[in-house]
Structures are given as structure tokens and as C-alpha cells.
Amino acid sequence: MTARTSAQAAPRQLTDGPVVDAAHVDVTYTVRGADRLTVKDVSFQIGPQESFGLVGESGCGKSTMALAIVRYLARNGRVSKGSITVAGQDVQALGTHALRELRARTISMVYQEPGRALNPSIRVGRQVAEVFEIAGLSKSEAAGRAEESLRTVQINDPGRVLQAYPHQLSGGMLQRVIIAMALARQPALLILDEPTTALDATVEAEILELVSALRQEFHTAVLFISHNLAVIAKMCDRVGVMYAGELVEQGLALQVFEEPRHPYTVGLLRCIPRRGQRKDHGRLDTIPGFLPAPGTVPVGCIFTQRCAIAQERCEREAPPMYPVGGDRISRCHYHERAPELPRATPEDVRLPAPDEASAPVISLRGVSKTFTAGKEPVHALTGIDLDLHAGETLGLVGESGSGKTTLARVLLGLSAADDGSALEMSGTKLAPLAPKRSRDQLRAMQIIFQNPDSALNRRHSVRAIISRPLTKLAGLSGKQREASLEELVASVRMQQRQLGLRPAQLSGGLKQRVAIARAFAGDPRVLVCDEPTSALDVSVQAAILNLLAELQGSKRVTYLFISHDLGVVRYLSDRIAVLYLGRLQEYGEAEAVFTGPHHPYTEALLSAVPSLDGTRERIALTGEIPSPAHPPSGCVFHTRCPRRLASGVCESTEPPLAEVEPGHFMRCHIPPDELRQLQNVEGQ
């Protein structure tokens, strides 16, 4: 560890009581004159040096709770009942000055978007030093401390980072800077609100490790907010599960995730593809029904409508917080029965096997894409060879900037591949750009975008959005089109009466269903799914993945499935392709890629994913993904590769994409047997 000044090294005076004590807190927002209860009767304590996690889907009130703790609710919000005490002080009762002191010294907060937390027009160094200046240090002292603080968050060249403007740094680097700023005053409580949601898995793993290490070092209590159960499991001692503004279950993180005692927690855990679950093993379970409208004050239990074990009593009587052993609490009358919650979806599913014997539907040979930034060529894709077979799912993985989306756009003809690239569909050459392709070719290949808000025209009704491709691509009109529309809408499990709505009136999951219906309108043979579930909540994601798997079974469509979530990719994919810096690094059967031997990059990606099924040892990647404008010599991965060979061959020669097992290709100088040995394949 780096040397620190005495002030920083001295452990803070610890009070005996909890750092945070929230007791029966209600938060109410006033919207157009009407009160809306957003957080209901939430109680929890965070002890000194403890890390407490709040987990739940969007709109469940976890961030509201965090804002209430720092008394930073929106102007129309207030704590309407209960009390919040931080380090012995009642937050609600603090005067302006005391509140400032509390925010300045006792609590620090780190938000989701590191890029938005810093002032874009001021150098990072100035912004970090300012924190120390507020603490009363002189300018020169503060500058020194700023540099030191960046070292504590494991930034190797603080000089460069301090001189940079925020936009010149990567998201991971910015988040480190923000964490450094948050810890500068040695707060008693650090609130992290989805700190890694906007980051890549590899970077996320680094940040999480950093936070764990710093927590030990600074003796700080942590309130960690995330929608990601695995992240919470990894980071927190205790956890609270929130649903529709209520804390439904609370207890030690390991226990809660191992043996959940509330039906909502049980349902949530079942929505996540785990333990190598795949689409042909069975469908994911989902949570039926809808989130209650915000501000609903139910008579009975808030989860009744969606609960499969609900009894008549649940509708009448709001459950109190039942202690269920240790300091665990469950807000369920029938908490002992929660683990036996019946499935909401039938488990069995029959999927036709992909037809790999036939000629590929899509065949890419030597596909490259070069952008020009300024005058420099940027090689976004280099020499991609890929085949897509009828009815299969090819998962495409890699960090952001690896070229996944570029490959999708090139395939669809939204941007033109470089000269010399060969794209074929069923043996017919595809023109580089969509307008030059025949209508049949366009019809055969469609896309589901990541963000339905961007993908759906806000001013068109659902009916218009789905009918237009029926007219344009399927060439239907009148009654026929009406019939197809009905069929499509039913196939994505939407209702006729939702056709008149605009996208803004639909929830995220419904919007994505509209986008799926649109993509299927022309009866495509190949569908590119570009992170179709990454903007959705876990339970919604499960339903969408089920839907995609089902539609693939019934329509024999081929998916090119892009995702950063390896669990999701593994669930849906028959084969996997791993991209790094626009080059294919590994390519093979999904199971082969996941069980190994892995390419060292794949290995690092896999190890970075936080898992609910116990922790793996993480293979740390050093440094950031290099700029595609200046790719490293030899093997492009050598700058970050933990298994780089000493002989120097990695730096000088690019390894070929060699077949290491039948159908399993890899671009690595290390022989597969040696890799297998190194990775000590256990077959996860």
C-alpha cells in the first residue's frame, strides 16, 4: 500500500451505535397535488464497517431510500413518517449547516453514471483537490493529497489522470476517481448507487474489488444499491430486498440468496439463468402479474397479486415483519412456505435442434470495417469469418468497444463493410448497404435493438409500428394484414387493446415486445438481437428470453445474440463467438467455450462475472482495452493477457484462428492442452 498521511491512516473514531438507523420510514412524493407513498415502513440498520445491500427492480424505492438518508429527496418528496438517524444524528432535524457537515464529513455518495458526476469542463485534478480544499487544506497540500488519493484507488499514473478532462478517461477510471473523492473525507458511510451498472464486466469486477479493499482499509460502512443480485451477494454482509417501496426480506446476504424466505425473493432468484442453465434445459421462471401502481396503498400484502402462495388472509392483512431466525426478517405470512413457491411458467420446453448440417444462412468471410476518425483509420472489425446456421443462436460477446455492434450493423447493411469483405445469405452475395439489397434480403434479416425508446417511433401507435413492416416487407394489406397483426401481437403476448397506445404509455418490457413483434413482422430468417434485455429488469428479462427462445422454436429463426451478460448468452446460445478489438478470438459450441479450454480473454471475461453460485477466482486484466486506431502488434490481446508467453511471440506474431477441438476455434499461441492445464478445467 502507498504511504498515507497520519490523518488518513488513523482509524476513525467509531461510535458504538449503528451508522444508519432507519426506523419505519415512509417517503411521500407530491405529484400534482396528490400524495404518493413511494417508500413504506422501511426499517434497517447499518452497523459500523458493515456493508448493507438494497436490491430490487426499478421503481422499488431503493434510490429514494438512499436520497432520504442524505436528505436529498426531490423538492416534492419528503420523509412522511419514521426517522433516519446517521451516526447518531436525526437527519430530518438537522439545520442547514449541520446538514452540510453531515454530507461533507459523514456520508459520501457514488452514482451510477461516472461521466455525469464530474464537471466536464474542469480538469479532474482540480475537482479532486477541491474536496481537500473544502476540508481546509491549502492549495498545494490539496494537490498533493489529490495525487495520493488516486493512488489509493489503484490508479497507476495519477499525474496523467489529474491533468485530464473527464471525457478523456474511461468509465472505469472515472468511477475510481469518484470513489477516491468519496473516500477523501473518510466518511462513516459510503452510499454506492448502482456504481458498476454502466461499466463492463471486467471493469465492474475491478471496481467491486477496489471497493471491498477500501472498505477494509477505511473502516467505512457501505450502503450498496443494485438491481444485480450477484453483485449484492458478492459485496454485502447483509441485504434488504425491496419490492414496491417495501422492504420484504432482510438478512445475511448468503442466507437470503441461499434460502430466500419471501416469495418475491424466490421468484427473483429464479428469473436469472444460473448454473449453466440453457434454453433447451427448460424455461426461466418469471414473476407473474404487474408491479402495483406507484402510490397504491393495499389493504393486505403488497405482493399478493403476483404471489402463487397467497391465501385469502394475505389480501386482508398486511404482513408484519416476521423474524425468521437470526436477524432475518420476512414480510410474508407464509414465509416458511416461500421456498416451495410453484413455478409461474411450465418448465419443460421442446426446442428443435439447430440445423448445422445444412448450408449456412449467413456466411461472413474476411469482413472488416474501418472508420476514419480525423485522418486516422480505426479498425473496428478485422477479418471476421463467421457462419450462421438455420435455427441456431450465435452469441456474440466482448467488452464495449470490441466491435459487437459494428458487426451487427455491417451485417444488416446499416454501415458498409470494407471492400473485400464477403457477406452472403444462402449463397447469394449481400450488397454492403441496406438500400442496395433486395426487399427479400432485407425482409430476411431484421434487428431488435437494445433500447426500445430509441427503436420505436414515439409518435406512432403500436398498431402503426407493427403494421408498417407487414405492409412494407410482407406485402400485406387489408384483412390479411389485420390477421397477421393479430397473430403477431398474440405471439408476443400482448393484447389487442394495447395497439392504440404509444410507446411512452408502455413499460420497458412491453416496448421490447413491440420491437420483437416488429422484427418478426417480415418473417425473418435471421434476427440480430443487440442486447435486447440489458435495459430491462430481471423478471422482465426472463420473460423476454423465454419469448425469444419460444419464437425461435416456432419460427425456426436464426439469432445473432449480442450481450455483455454471459449468463444470458449461455442460456440462449448454441454457439459463441468472442470478439476483442474487432477480431474473433474464440468461436465454438457454447458449452465448449464455457467449459474450456478458454482463450485467456474469454477466461478473464468469465471470471469477471459476479455469480450467485459462489465466487470464482478472478483473472485480473491489466489496463484498458487499447484504441482500435492503434491496435497492439502481434496478438492484439497481449497488452492485457495474464498468460502472455515469455518468448515474446505474442508481441510479434498474431496467432491464427486454429481449431483446438472439433468445431472450437481459438486465436492463441498457447497450445490448448496447456491452456486446459493452466485453467484446471473443472467444467463449471
Binding site: 424505492g61 403476483r306 393484447q495 416488429r518
Partner: protein
């Protein structure tokens, strides 16, 4: 998506939805494994559709005092424009030989001018010309500017650069001077005023529209349209145009205010609406010379008329902008 609530005085996402979105039926059946079961009671809320958003916006507007005040003043002038001759107590063009330069009195509330004409009547009737010309000019400008902005923003490249440079050249001079030069060259008349002001404003409006189009064209729904072989015209007018109507509406109201201002300026200079038609700008110009003699009413009332109309339209424009941005 995570429940990231903004902290800066904005209600939480769950709190800013319209009441409609909150009905459980519209929340996610995606969470359901199979066919969603809509709970009873919520079904009624589903009848409302796209129209609701518009109605909601209108409701917000009608609750804004600024909008109501602006609308009331504008409505008054529209009534004057339509029925001015009937409302006016005197014939606005016939002077009285006995009562010239009379100060405001019970007989002549706004006094009389140097030709003995009733200032109140001239002010009331004067609304017609300026409103009509300003409205038509702004409509022309909006249509032109929208088309130009769509083409520029959608095609970009050389088309955009070429049109952009021309616009910059024309707008290098103050708008009033450009309009003035054209009107002088073409001899002033209402149609010429409409066309000239419409053209100049069209160029201004096109810049706003272009910016709005630029934001839209990067969105994925445009890519989706390309992937189903839509033509450029369809993408521009069916896909993009409805999404940029907000800024266009705001621009229209703002420009209407400026058009009134411009026409009044041109009339003051003698190149606007031609006498003997009563016109505020021309009346001010004619009466200005008597200001020194203390006949303030001849200038004040037409000036107040112009000011009130411009303020009214700006109040409306501001309120519309507030709603559109929301």
C-alpha cells in the same frame, strides 16, 4: 434498468408518469410468463390512447396563467381583426373636420389624430392587416423552414453545407433590413410582405428544425425504417416530422411575434401595409411628428396595441415551450 432516481428537484421516474401510465394494466405484462391477466377495474383506463397525451398537454396549458392571459389578449385582437368595422365606434378612415388632435375624452376614448380620425377605431380596425399578414407570413415560413430543415438534417453532407451557407449569407444582415431591401425592391404590398417575411423566417426556422432532425436521425427507429426499405420522403415526413413538431410549434409562435414586430417596423418606415388602411406602425410613424406638440395619445395607443399583441404571443409561445419540453 435500475431505479436511478434523479436528485435535482425532479420527481422520481415513478412519480412523473402521467396518471394513465400508472394504471396497473399498462405496467408490464412482460413480467408474466404467458397471457397477462389484466385485473379488473383497470380496463377502463385503456380506452385512452394517443389522444390522451394531447389532451393532457392541453390541460397543462389551460392551467398556466401566462397562457390564459396571452390567449385572452390574442383573442381580443382576433375579434378586432374579424369584426373591427362593427366594433369600432367611428369610421376609422373618415376624419372629423371639427375634432382633430383632440385629447382622450368621453366621445373619443383614445382621442383623435391630426386628420380628426378616431384613434380607438383606427387601433381596433388596424389589427386586421397586421394579424393577417403576420399569420400568413409565419405559416409560409414554417412550412418552408420545416421542409428545408428536414432536408438538411436528413441528408447532411453537401446538401446541408450548400443550403447552410446560403442561409448564413442571407441572415448575415439583420432580418428587418433584409426584409426591407426586398420589399423596397418589389414595391410594398401585402402579398410581397407575406412572401418576403415568410422566406426570411423560413431560413431562420430551418435552422431549429435541422438541429431537431439531427437528434432524431441517429435514433434506432430510423435504422429500422431503412431496414424495411422506406424511401427518404417517408422517413423524413412520416417518421421524423411528427417527432420534431414540438420545436416547430414553439418556433411558429415565437416567429409570429417577430413577424408582427417586423411588419410594424416596415409599416413605420412606410413599406408595410399601405394607407389608407389603418395600420399601427404607419399610424405611429404619422403621429410621431406631433409627439413634440404634446399629442401623445396618437402614438401611445397604436404602440400599446403592438406591444400587447407581441407580449400576448410571447406568453403563449413560452407556455407552449414549457409544455413541449416537459
Amino acid at each position: 434498468m435500475s431505479g436511478q432516481e434523479p436528485a435535482d428537484g425532479i420527481p422520481t421516474p415513478s412519480a412523473i408518469k402521467t396518471p394513465l401510465e400508472d394504471s396497473p394494466a399498462l405496467l408490464d405484462p412482460a413480467a408474466v410468463g404467458f397471457v397477462p391477466q389484466i385485473t379488473g377495474g383497470a380496463a377502463g383506463a385503456l380506452d385512452s390512447s394517443a389522444g390522451t397525451i394531447r389532451r393532457e398537454n392541453l390541460r397543462l396549458l389551460l392551467r398556466s396563467p401566462a397562457f390564459l392571459m396571452g390567449a385572452a389578449i390574442l383573442l381580443w385582437w382576433i375579434v378586432c381583426a374579424l369584426f373591427g368595422k362593427t366594433i369600432a365606434p367611428y369610421n376609422p378612415v373618415a376624419g372629423s373636420l371639427t375634432a382633430f388632435n383632440d385629447p382622450p375624452s368621453a366621445a373619443h376614448l383614445f382621442g383623435t389624430d391630426s386628420l380628426g380620425r378616431d384613434v380607438l377605431s383606427r387601433t381596433i380596425v388596424g389589427a386586421r392587416g397586421i394579424l393577417l399578414v403576420a399569420f400568413l407570413a409565419t405559416v409560409l415560413g414554417t412550412v418552408l423552414g420545416t421542409s428545408l430543415g428536414l432536408v438538411q438534417g436528413y441528408f447532411l453532407g453537401p446538401v446541408d453545407s450548400f443550403v447552410g451557407r446560403i442561409i448564413e449569407a442571407v441572415l448575415a444582415l439583420p432580418v428587418v433590413i433584409v426584409a426591407f431591401l426586398f420589399v423596397v425592391a418589389l414595391s410594398p404590398s401585402a402579398p410581397v410582405l407575406i412572401v418576403v417575411i415568410g422566406l426570411v423566417f423560413g431560413l431562420l426556422i430551418s435552422r431549429t428544425v435541422r438541429t431537431a432532425v439531427l437528434q432524431e436521425r441517429g435514433l434506432d427507429y430510423i435504422a429500422a425504417a431503412r431496414l424495411r426499405d422506406e424511401g427518404d420522403a417517408h422517413i423524413m415526413f412520416v417518421e421524423i416530422l411528427p417527432n420534431v413538431m414540438g420545436p416547430i410549434l414553439v418556433e411558429f409562435t415565437v416567429r409570429l411575434g417577430y413577424a408582427i414586430f417586423t411588419i410594424a417596423s416596415l409599416s413605420f418606415l412606410g413599406f408595410g401595409i399601405q394607407p389608407p388602411t389603418p395600420d399601427w406602425g404607419a399610424d405611429i410613424s404619422g403621429a410621431a411628428q406631433y409627439l413634440g406638440a404634446g399629442y401623445w395619445w396618437e402614438t401611445l395607443f397604436p404602440a400599446l396595441a403592438i406591444a400587447s399583441l407581441v407580449v400576448a404571443i410571447n406568453l403563449i409561445a413560452d407556455s407552449i415551450e414549457a409544455v413541449v419540453i416537459q
